[in-house]
């Protein structure tokens, strides 16, 4: 009894030194990076002053009829870019994703498909649209092609993972009936993965809508061009109108895509 009482109880939660050191390391890095980037409090305070002026010039949003017409056509073009890029991007990801799935395709094919997907995924859509603007000229086509590239990268990577997770028994059952490759694909693989594929496509439409408002900054068509022009001319009230339109569109898209995904679940 006395022996047990004299021994100190071990702490309920021992100190985890490696984790604590890692946190200290992260904090030190943050300080180091802040000094390297020359982020000082003084600059921040000066900026706040600028920010007040900036907000003052933004309000009220510019609602002139000619501006609204310009913005309307830009928004419409952004939506068209997103729709077409999603449609063709998703259509092309279907074979690419199947080729990348290791349980369906032979090794050499799935590795080369995976390599292609890695290349497609690695560049931001805005950088890809710079290259397409040079190749096919200014306008919506460059934006569409750029977003097709990024859609293919995203959808086919995740689609390949979905196909790899599917149940192999149904594939074996259909194959046992003597079905050829295409029949296996249509009757065993697609029914299992189609719902997830539609979900991915809807998600991609959402993300393409966001990016289609951006490609215009480098000449890829859509609302980005009038946005950037207004910004460079310091027409901040027009910028605000465009921003409100973009945010409204994206919130609407988020609601709609949530509904569609529920239908297909």
């Amino acid at each position: 009894m006395s022996l047990a009482a004299s021994r100190p109880r071990p702490p309920a939660f021992p100190v985890n030194w490696p984790a604590r050191l890692a946190w200290i390391g992260l904090a030190l890095y943050a300080l180091y990076a802040t000094s390297i980037l020359n982020l000082t409090w003084a600059r921040f305070v000066v900026g706040l002053d600028n920010g007040a002026k900036f907000l003052d010039r933004m309000f009220p949003p510019n609602m002139q009829a000619d501006k609204l017409e310009l913005i309307g056509s830009g928004m419409l073009e952004s939506i068209q870019i997103a729709v077409l890029a999603t449609f063709f991007g998703v259509l092309l990801s279907l074979p690419l994703g199947l080729m990348a799935a290791r349980n369906l395709a032979p090794g050499w094919l799935s590795w080369s498909a995976r390599g292609l997907i890695a290349v497609l995924r690695s560049f931001h859509p805005v950088i890809v649209s710079i290259l397409f603007v040079k190749a096919v000229g200014f306008g919506a086509l460059a934006g569409i092609l750029a977003l097709i590239v990024s859609s293919m990268g995203f959808v086919s990577k995740l689609f390949a993972e979905v196909v790899e997770e599917m149940n192999a028994k149904q594939v074996e059952a259909v194959r046992a009936t003597g079905a050829n490759f295409w029949n296996v694909l249509i009757f065993a693989v697609m029914p299992q993965v189609m719902a997830r594929f539609v979900g991915l496509s809807v998600y991609q439409l959402d993300s393409n809508l966001r990016n289609s408002t951006m490609v215009g900054i480098v000449g890829g068509g859509g609302i980005g061009a009038p946005l950037f022009t207004a910004y460079q001319r310091f027409d901040y009230d027009v910028v605000l109108t465009i921003l409100i339109c973009i945010i409204a569109l994206i919130m609407l898209a988020e609601v709609v895509s949530g509904r569609i995904r529920r239908i297909f679940q």
Partner: protein
């Protein structure tokens, strides 16, 4: 995919979808077809530009190769390091700002619908503005440079990190938290020893995922003046020095691949 059984009088007829599901599915197919056809018919594409697209593309690659290697030590290296710092610091700032908000958004931790809604509203507005647009706004306020880049990365990431981490918090088990409450632990201890061990894997996976995305995104912020390698890219593009553009694109490609390898290794280790 629900399997619905027909009424017993026609018990042998099995249908995969209910009539309402079928109508919804066919409606969606029709809407998709109409949207695609409408977009193709009305979109403004200038076919004259397309005639010389193959030559333009060939020309593009011919001008890119060989790369202007001398440009790397001159302008690319420092910009690359700056991009890395912008992405990392932006992610860290976003985590610091998003953590308290995600506790406000989690309905099991904060039992006030008003605060839940407020936090959700901040997340949605952060996510619906693209990082490039955030960068435009911050460049107008703070001037060109890395400060605007860090802030735009952070503000775009708040919604992403906060939403996913808030969902992880809502999925936390009640057991350990009730045990700590019953033992009389203060609220800070419940946080540190009840919630945190349960959500730590989710936290790291969300943070790593966003860091990976932010490395890609910070490479383009310079196009609107928010610092990093995008500034070098922008000036090379404006000068039509395609050999420098090619070098910068190759560098970005390598960095993105390296980041992906690093994040997937860390993820396998700690999660």
């Amino acid at each position: 995919m629900k399997e619905t059984q027909a009424p017993p009088d026609q018990a042998r007829r099995w249908q995969r979808f209910s009539p309402a599901e079928r109508i919804a599915r066919s409606m969606l197919a029709i809407v998709t077809a109409v949207a695609v056809v409408w977009s193709i018919k009305t979109i403004d594409i200038i076919p004259e530009f397309l005639y010389d697209a193959p030559e333009q593309t060939a020309d593009l690659f011919k001008r890119m190769w060989p790369f202007d290697w001398g440009f790397y030590p001159k302008a690319v290296h420092d910009a690359l390091i700056e991009t890395f710092h912008i992405a990392t610091l932006g992610t860290m700032l976003a985590i610091v700002l998003a953590l308290p908000l995600s506790f406000l958004a989690a309905r099991n931790f904060t039992k006030s619908p008003v605060l839940n809604f407020l936090a959700q509203f901040i997340f949605v507005s952060s996510r619906s503005v693209n990082s490039l647009i955030w960068a435009l706004l911050f460049v107008a306020i703070f001037g060109p440079g890395a400060l605007s880049g860090v802030l735009s990365i952070a503000f775009r990431s708040i919604g992403f990190i906060g939403k996913l981490f808030g969902e992880a918090l809502e999925e936390a088990q009640r057991g350990p938290i009730e045990a700590l409450t019953a033992a009389g632990a203060p609220r800070s201890m419940i946080l540190a020893k009840g919630y945190w061990p349960q959500v730590e894997p989710a936290f790291w996976s969300v943070a790593l995922l966003r860091w990976d995305i932010n490395i890609r995104e910070s490479a383009v912020l310079g196009l609107v003046g928010a610092g990093g390698i995008g500034v070098a890219l922008d000036s090379a593009l404006n000068n039509l020095y395609w050999d420098q553009v090619g070098l910068i694109l190759a560098v970005i490609f390598l960095v993105v691949i390296a980041t992906e390898i690093v994040t997937s290794t860390i993820r396998k280790r700690i999660i």
